[in-house]
Amino acid sequence: MNPEHDQRLKTLLREWQPKADLPVRFESEVWHRIAMNEEKRSSWLNFDWLFRITCQPRLAFAIVALAVFLSMGLATWQAQQNYHRALADSKSRYILSVDPFANVLLTSN
């Protein structure tokens, strides 16, 4: 590299000043956010992620839809479980009603 160009670039960079208008307390706000992030990053239990998710409509909708689908699945599963249990009870009642020996055992035990 040309040492003369290098010297000129250094001078230019030293003289350059950004002209953007930053909001009031921009710098302190950035440092505050960095500090908050580092403080909360390790824990899922603070539910910060939930606050962030609910700010996004698609994800909020997904939460509600997931709750609905899970409830539907749970209800169908429970209905089937109860049905099979009731059917097994009904079968036992029938066998007791036709089998005198089972009846004798039931009353003697």
């Binding site: 939460i63 059917l87 066998i95 007791l96 055992l105």
Partner: protein, 155 residues
């Protein structure tokens, strides 16, 4: 915070609503509960019986029931007599032998009557279902290992 509360409340409310609606639909569509007061309701559901078949089976059950009660009393009496004789004697006696023979005869009669009833019921069903019914009833009532497990099983 308010937004989060609203979304979570909505999820809980809609979830609960979906649960109850789905449970109701599942029960009425494909999980209809058998009638707890009717001991034969299991047959109707398990073997997909028509109203006419079910009515015929109900009639057969009604005819069989008094006999079943009578058999139940005979088995009880025979068992009690045998038990009393066994406990009253310290060795094998002719009375115990007679009681054992009587108990065996009662058991044989009970098995024959029950099997006759199972055949009648199976004939009132569609052939394939009748065969399945016989298979289930044979396993549940006539196989010795199931009879002994019934003895120990809490009802």
């Amino acid at each position: 915070m308010k937004r989060l509360t609203v979304i979570l409340a909505l999820a809980v409310l809609l979830g609960l609503g979906a649960y109850f609606v789905s449970y109701g639909i599942a029960q009425s569509m494909f999980c209809q509960m058998p009638d707890a007061s009717d001991s034969s309701s299991w047959l109707r559901q398990e073997f997909h019986l028509s109203d006419a078949q079910y009515a015929q089976i109900k009639k057969l059950e009604a005819d069989y029931h008094p006999h079943c009660v009578e058999m139940c009393a005979q088995i009880k009496q025979s068992r009690l007599a045998l038990k009393n004789l066994i406990l009253a004697n310290g060795t094998m006696t002719p009375e115990i032998e007679t009681a054992l023979q009587k108990d065996g005869a009662v058991q044989q009669e009970w098995r024959q009557d029950m099997l006759r009833h199972f055949y009648e019921i199976s004939q009132a069903m569609p052939p394939a279902e009748g065969k399945r019914y016989l298979q289930i009833m044979e396993e549940q009532t006539l196989e010795p290992e199931n009879m002994s497990s019934e003895m120990s099983a809490p009802h």
